[in-house]
Symmetry: C2
Subunit: 409 residues, 2 copies
């Protein structure tokens, strides 16, 4: 069997699969936009602050009047209620309030002693101290959220502050997820009492990992039966199919057989460990990602090729940062394959240590449940020695996007 | 004004506030447990795999029979259908199936040529190659999720695999959140058209940051009015109150005044920048965290003292890892205060660079909306020079817990 390299597989996905999903912009209320990806650059509608405002409670003053102020040589300022501050005048101001004309700083209460209608400034303030200038936070007309950025709760707050009530975002991709396997069950009693029953843990895992970037339509479990599978793939209310199971390289690659007969298999078998049995195809003009039924393999496949595919549809711009860590033991890899090594990161005397968890076993869940980091070992690298400084990614970050786009050697 | 050190404030919270929340264990279906914190150690009910199983499609064999196998010197094995494998016998096996007795490895299809009922092994396999042993992933009786661990989708999958249908978790804390301020609005038209109106962006921000660890009951906005505030704090269906606004050190500390009169203010003013105006108290036997109305100050206060408080109630065990980064410019800090510096982390030639964003301005949201990292500068540190290697935390990680528990100097 020939295995396609992960990056060549990505090229096929970009060239032949991407255009099969039609994604529309929708306009949503900013309060409902959390987790969505902006479909356009979004510009501030107003300045914020709307005016120069106080950032502390205290006295609005002209900073130059306080220049010589000190404990031993206080400067006297006259309290006023006027709209305009003159030389050696001060006006009580609350945090958030607009600065009166003439003032260019706030002298905090603790920098002054009050003597009736006179205050003694005992410390100086510089121009613009303790104030925020008009438009300092948000300037009308500037882009505050770029196309492809995910709207997190900070961006959401920024949009609201910028006077924006509604935003254009991409409609969320609807993924139809189908589990395939005679022995797979979702009933705990059957799982516990039937010797060859396997609990469906892969679908909740993949749904959990996908939830951030799309909507998942759970199509349930079907047996290793071509007609059953085909019937489920007639759904027209989903954009993309993901199947779990039925992709092995031997007799039980039933999912592949269905797509070979009724659709188009673009590739089957990639240089990924765990996860070499992945296939991608088209059926009824819809992309179908055929993932392993094994949880760790399916997770690796999802991160390396499916998540990047979905993020690319959204034109998503996500910076994925590595954590540099020292390996606590040697890691060997399978040459010719991209190895997805699960590691446990911990801090030790100010250093970050990466402890590799067992490599083998695409069905072994505990390795990845304990891991908080992922080390990628490329096709042409034999492994790393103990003590090597390696770039590790957070398990749940979209590190696959960074890999396929070429930023990880 | 005297400012209490952040760690002393944490001591008061631990000594005097923690016991005011009664948290119960509840039993929930594992499928509904995502994001909850385990209230007990949870042990596996069964072994997984239930038996020794194949991890690849191929032939179940006795590994010792293949020891001398090579391309030039293949080893002949007789195909059998028996339940027990004898010397120089092999049986076809699919991934996931139970290994027949006598076999201790799987020879993948590509390691053998088939000649009728004989196969020629052309490569050797070691004992236990390509199989998973009974209990290798999950061993019956071992703890798979510890008390205080957050159940993410991997832990959820592990629990299901271990035969667990229901888990004891902590009921989620119900936080009543009240926004205080005459000028604060949630109506975009009023915000845009009324000169002194301020859009309530702090509450969605704090709700967003809190959503991971508790349930937020939105109590809306009230004016700077003692009776109005007091009335809202009569709610009996929440565990903890959080107020936003009305905590300044000057005239507008209306929230503090209410608690001074009708409850108990434990402290007001902490050595935190931004966020020095924070107060904590008790009212009607409920804890109340009085945060700033300014978004960045409120976020800093939340992360440094409120989130650690809630995680402590859950006995949460969360490892917070720093990212070591090189400062792209000098950072000065306010001596005597814990400085929460927003930084933008980026990768440059394999190095992680931390670019400090503006320090000043607790009301300036854009600094933290752009930031993906937080640098903590302790009370006794003057700042860091350009090029210094510093420990930066991810903005949304619970770094405050690590700080107050004493692991960050």
């Amino acid at each position: 069997m020939e295995f396609l390299s992960v990056r060549d597989a990505w090229k096929i996905i970009k060239d032949k699969v991407l255009r099969h999903v039609k994604i529309e912009k929708i306009i949503v209320n900013v309060r409902d936009a959390l987790g969505s990806f902006a479909a356009d650059d979004i510009k501030a509608l107003i300045d914020y602050p709307k005016h120069d405002i106080a950032l502390f409670d205290g006295y609005a003053v002209r900073a130059e009047d306080t220049t010589s102020a000190s404990m031993s040589n206080p400067v006297m300022l006259r309290l006023t209620n006027k709209d305009v501050i003159g030389r050696y005048e001060a006006k009580i101001i609350n945090v958030g309030e607009t600065l009166p004309k003439g003032a260019n700083a706030v002298l905090p209460y603790e920098y002054a002693n009050v003597e009736g209608s006179i205050i003694e400034a005992i410390r100086s303030v510089r121009p613009y101290a303790n104030i925020a200038l008009k438009g300092e936070d948000v300037r009308c007309g500037t882009v505050i959220v770029r196309k492809g950025e995910c709207i997190d709760f900070f961006k959401q707050a920024l949009l609201l502050r910028a006077g924006i009530a509604e935003v254009p975002v991409w409609r969320r991709i609807r993924v139809g997820m189908l589990v395939i396997g005679n022995e797979v069950v979702r009933n705990m009693n059957i799982y516990l009492n039937k010797d060859d029953a396997v609990y469906d843990i892969t679908s909740p895992l993949i749904i959990g990992a996908l939830r951030k970037c799309c909507e998942v339509v759970d199509l349930g479990i079907v047996k290793d039966d071509e007609n059953e599978i085909l019937r489920m793939l007639q759904r027209e209310d989903v954009d993309v199919f993901i199947t779990l199971g039925g992709t092995s390289l031997g007799k039980r690659d039933v999912t592949i057989k269905v797509i070979e007969k009724y659709g188009d298999v673009l590739f089957h078998g990639i240089t990924l460990v765990p996860g070499r049995t992945m296939a991608v195809g088209l059926i009824n003009d819809r992309p179908i990602f055929m993932l392993s039924g094994f949880p760790v393999a399916a997770f690796a496949q999802l991160k390396v090729l499916v998540e990047p595919y979905i993020l690319r549809i959204y034109c998503a711009t996500i910076e994925v940062l590595p954590i540099m860590a020292e390996l606590s033991s040697r890691v060997a890899s399978t040459i010719g394959f991209l190895n997805i090594v699960r590691v446990k990161l911990r801090e030790e005397h100010g250093k970050i240590i990466a402890q590799p968890l067992r490599l083998r076993g695409s069905g072994i869940l505990s390795s990845i449940a304990l891991a908080n980091g992922i080390l990628l070992i490329s096709e042409n690298v034999e492994g790393y020695d103990r003590g090597a400084l390696v770039a590790v990614y957070r398990r749940d970050d979209p590190w696959g996007l960074k890999y396929v786009e070429g930023n990880i050697s």
